[in-house]
Chain length 733, copies 2
């Protein structure tokens, strides 16, 4: 196993070995139901010297390979760490997780659906719906968004009901949401059947807090006027518009192969060097990201996302998905298809997961694709005196992964630029989650203030997508600070001012300056484009030779609304990261550096809504970490009266983590139905006075000889062309 | 000439004819110095029925072709309109423009530089600089930003001084800004020599208001420690870093040709139909933009841009460029080069301008390129029950033009999406405008609060780029309204509230709703992402069949700071559009419809800083139009006491124009030097409940058979692959 780099995900063999070790460790191996086996990343304190030595060309001894296992052992949800070193195989930690719930997965969802549809009470309610002939009922399980009205100690699952009107299982059943909702216990018994609000009155469905209660209300009969066409997307189905034939083929070729070099999980491209990782929860991760030999980031990952729905009517407030914590971006990752998800010269990375409760490794092919794109002009200047132009084209390296979270798809991409810019893009696509809505006497959808009616009887409720990008910087080293700049107009000169400075500095009223402020302590921060507020991660100890300012990398945020749910709501308590757009925390280093079983776990403070989000009760997210340390510090200060107060909460010149919460308030459009064209959100990271000059200055100028483009003749027969054949200059220089 | 569409730019022959007509019209043709000959677009009131008939398959008689001519006739700056109809050739209007100044162009700049360098006083000051041996002095003329301290009736030009240290005229002379600045009269006499502030004190250069005064201060000697390497970008120069050799070729081919069809200036692509135009001022324009046969926009163009510099020290407040009004985006347009500016299968459009004072037509080849790009995934869904995915790729049509405004480049692109989205992107690149800065005793740049010191002795001052996109909508017709939506949390339930509604609607505190408000009157509006404020152009008379709401197109703004200069400053007075991010005005229809010489000119209210920006005094921009109409309305109302008040200012259900001001507060980075990697700004327009459903639903799913991508094998020799050859599924369905 020593050929693996410490950041490499577990291989299939390692997963197999980890499962074997745990089985040996326990008397009765049949009682172990594996949920996840994943790399326990070595402590950062151990990795920093390792990476330093590695980049110095040495061959340091890597930290031990350790697997983290989540499993139900004799029914108890437990976390283990297992050392994979052949000489000292064994379980090195075992941590019971009482009151915590595992993520759900496809196998669980299938069992839940089957149990739900087999329930006589559900069948009775379905019969009462009097569905059209040929209808096939579909029940779709969802994790249960905590509402404080029910015991959270047992796993609860919701099932939402739909139907399809064709035999084809790829029919879009979200086009027919039914007036049914079922709550299931952890052992998949139906404990409650609810009916859904579908009128335009605030027709809340009341519900007692007692569990096990069975509703006796009868389903409202299905309104057959809701049957419609136009809601299918899958190409083999009937009733689809004929595909357009106008789009001509478009091929990308790289006759000498791609510009990147991949060695295992290490990628070198242009001046970039980094490692790509993959785990069941975050999906794609990036590690040890360097440009031109200089360190930029220790780790980049999407750390969590929250999708709360805005319909306040019971039971909709439970629709609130933590797609990473509850479902796992890695578990939901698509196997990408050549020529479909990816165009050009494509390198794929496979992902390894646990294939089922037995702990067998499962390879998911092609979970990440790596390829290049051309992104237009990178820089250009024409000297107007000579007419000579120099132009370079922007080549970009893309790392893409796509996940399916039930109805929805997310496309996550990192874009590496030749100018040392790095962009993270989320594209939202897939199918809107739907709910039933009544028709009026004329067969038209009634109007509901909480969503958009996108087809007859189909309400697409308002919701938010709130992503949290975790940026663990290493800007020329690990002692970093966060610097906030704003641009402010100078006051207009006032000749009557007693202060001569005010009367003289800005005679024409056009001057402006920047203010700068270090963020001294851990906190949440907000965006403000009106002051051109920017957030730059700097290394105060390294100064730029010309600007004299600390070298830095700037966050180019995506401007979007933060969480709309009330501060006191369960949504707000559970998704603390959604309160602010930018967060600064200290990296929570443990006391010892290279020890896997000390109190500190390397997943501490990795996930801004907490490690276990399934039916979480809040209080474990990023705001709570900060608040906890503030309290602790105050207690310590109170305890050591009149001694010098330590700056323990100080978040300057230290190992910091910066988090960016962004997303969209998605009030659906009719155009998002039946399948949604991608909505893009883009976050950037750019060097600011980090490099001596433009790091893309050495990109060779573009030439036609190299780029072999083709001129298109047009159908213009007006004879207006005079003397020139319309051909462009072949190259710039 | 009847083969031209009314929106087609003037051809070379038409320009020639227009000049001939004007020369015949005047007794002494040698006294005519042509500045511009461009299409006078037919009145909108005439074009609307014309387009309706045209799209109905009829062959309406086009309005007469009319040329607009700007010329100095016997020294007087005058505007003419000239009818190009052969039967009735003649000047149809002649409008003297006293106190107005023409745009400047390359020929004028060359003459200004020559006159400046030939001036004995300038030569004396240059000698006093004691420049290094081998230095070549460069003087760069700039239009004069009004400062209220000088008479504006005569054209004034500034010259800034630089040097280059090599024979190569493509050397980057901006790397050596000199301590000199010259003010020149309209007849190119040097009227003042100024020295520049270059210390970190607020060392304002005082200046009397008298014109013609010659400064006698001697130049500060050039500090030879400022000589440096690393500021060149042009590939033939020495001292450049060797170009990187890592970037492998990347070819785009379309074996069946592109998907667009071009007929003259008409472009048909996928479901889009529109016409592309070009004129000396706005450069690229778009006309009569339709999707799937439905009208969206009458006209789209960049209407103005303003680049004010933030250094308050005299004479820098004069650095404030209206790059369209003063220089002309068309006049500054690059001839794009195949394989350099454009990759793939490229269709070029040529531009026609006036080649010089004699009025000869000048063809500028390839001012606009048209081509397709692949933009990744357009929509995707995987049915998790069947594992079947449908994925489409996003093909995008790009129209690109690039302009050079002295040191700077702007790349302007329209991106047409298959999903009926339309994006407008600006990329800023080129070379920063520079100013001298002193070195300290250690040879380091001193710190100046108004800019970034990017190389020894080189200050790159803070500045803003403020663009104004003019959106003349025709959303299913010309009677449109502007609708502002916001997303707001419902109040949390309060069980103690006397109003039962408050106590019951939002029990879990998670609900939110949208508010909507029509903009009733012409006004300027601001962005607010914290409320998810959106701006949608709607047709109130057309309702969506499922949502029941008016069909609309939404502006996806670019969030950026508005003008930093003080409200009372000349900058603010001259660039009124820069005060707000969104403006709504009524289209200023004239009283008669098809008459070129009525009081209404079709350029009225086309340019949000006014038609003549050169040394403009303000009061002619978008805010003034609105204010003027408000005053007029009030006077009319006051005049007709107690009769019913007309809703004359009402901007609903009428022909409206929406303007979006966006850009960047550009506080330069060291990485922007010596040539700047593109900074992108993107504005979007998207259908919102305009189409019945996803207008890209009929895009065929992607297949490897069609897209012919290639798998890259990696150097991974770890043997971890098990049983799978790593090949992706060949296609999705």
């Amino acid at each position: 196993m020593t050929s693996q780099h410490p950041f490499d995900p577990l291989t299939g063999k390692e997963i197999q070995l980890a499962a074997e070790i745990l089985r040996k460790h326990h008397a009765n191996p049949t009682d172990i139901l594996f949920r996840a086996i994943t790399l326990s990343e070595p402590p950062k304190a151990a990795m920093i010297p390792f990476l330093d030595q590695e980049h110095a060309g040495e061959h340091p001894k890597p930290p031990a390979r350790v697997a983290r296992i989540l499993a139900h052992v004799n029914g108890a949800f437990t976390e283990f760490k297992v050392k994979l070193d052949k000489d000292s195989q064994g379980v090195i930690s075992e941590k019971p997780l009482p009151g915590r719930h595992s993520h759900i997965d496809g196998a669980y969802m299938r069992r839940a659906e089957q149990a739900c549809l087999a329930d006589p009470g559900v069948q009775e309610q379905v019969a009462a719906l009097k569905l059209p002939k040929g209808a096939t009922v579909v029940a779709e399980p969802w994790s249960y968004g905590t509402d404080g009205m029910n015991d959270m100690s047992q796993l609860v699952t919701m099932c939402w009901f739909y139907m399809r009107m064709t035999e084809d299982p790829d029919a879009n059943y979200y086009a027919y949401p039914l007036d049914l909702c079922v709550k299931m216990s952890h052992d998949l018994r139906v404990v409650k059947i609810l009916h859904l609000p579908s009128g335009n009155q605030h027709d809340r469905v009341t519900e007692s807090t007692a569990t096990g209660e069975r509703s006796t209300t009868t389903s409202k009969e299905y309104d057959h006027r809701k049957l419609h066409t136009g809601s299918e997307y899958y190409p083999t189905l009937n009733n689809l518009p004929p595909p357009r034939t106008t789009t001509q083929p478009y091929h990308v070729t790289q006759p000498h192969g791609p510009s990147f070099v991949v060695d295992g999980h290490k990628i070198a491209w242009e001046k970039w060097h980094f490692r790509v990782g993959f785990n069941y929860r975050e999906g794609m991760t990036l590690h040890d990201i360097r440009f031109d030999g200089r360190s930029l980031f220790y780790r980049l990952s999407l750390a969590e996302m929250f999708v709360p729905y805005g319909d306040p009517r019971t039971p909709y407030p439970r629709k609130a998905a933590f797609d990473l914590g509850n479902d796992g971006a890695g578990l939901c990752a698509n196997s990408l298809a050549l020529g479909c998800d990816c165009l050009g010269c494509i390198k794929y990375f496979d992902g390894w997961l646990v294939g089922g409760p037995s702990g067998l490794p499962l390879k998911v092919p092609n979970v990440i694709c790596c390829h290049e794109i051309d992104d237009g002009i990178l820089w250009k200047h024409t000297n107007f005196r000579t007419g000579n132009a120099a132009v370079t084209r922007s080549r970009v390296l893309v790392l893409q992964t796509v996940i399916t979270a039930s109805n929805y798809e997310y496309i996550f991409c990192f874009y590496f630029g030749q100018d040392a810019s790095l962009h993270y893009e989320v594209r939202a696509t897939g199918i809107l989650s739907t709910a039933p809505v009544d028709l009026d006497a004329h067969g038209r959808n009634i109007s509901v203030p909480y969503g958009t009616t996108v087809a007859p009887g189909v309400l697409a409720p308002f919701h938010q997508h709130l992503f949290c990008l975790r940026i663990d910087p290493a800007v020329d080293g690990h002692a970093n600070s966060l610097l906030v700049h704003e641009s402010h107009a100078l006051p207009a000169d006032d000749p009557t001012a007693p202060d001569p400075a005010l009367a003289q500095n800005n005679p024409h009223g056009v001057g402006y300056v920047t203010t700068q402020q270090y963020v001294e302590d851990e906190t949440g921060l907000d965006l403000d484009f009106t002051t051109n507020r920017t957030f730059t991660i700097v290394n105060e100890a390294r100064r730029h030779p010309f600007t004299g300012t600390p070298v830095g990398f700037r966050l180019m945020p995506w401007y979007s609304q933060t969480l709309l749910a009330q501060p006191g709501s369960w949504h707000a308590k559970r998704a603390e990261f959604a309160r602010h757009a930018v967060w600064l925390t200290r990296y929570p280093h443990g006391s010892s550096s290279d020890n896997h079983d000390d109190e500190r776990d390397e997943l501490d403070e990795m996930f801004p809504a907490g490690r276990f989000t399934m039916q979480s009760a809040g209080g474990e997210g990023i705001a709570s970490w900060i608040e906890g340390r503030k309290k602790q510090k105050k207690q310590e200060e109170d305890g050591q009266e009149s001694t010098e107060k330590e700056e323990k909460g100080n978040a300057r010149n230290t190992d910091i983590v910066v988090w960016h919460t962004f997303g969209s308030t998605h009030n659906p459009r009719a155009e998002d139905w039946p399948v949604m064209p991608v909505e893009k959100m883009v976050v950037g990271l750019k060097p600011v006075n980090f490099f001596e000059r433009n790091p893309a200055l050495d990109v060779p100028v573009a030439t036609q000889e190299r780029n072999r483009s083709v001129l298109v003749d047009d159908a213009d027969a007006s004879g207006m062309r005079e003397g020139d054949n319309g051909k462009g200059k072949e190259c710039c220089v």
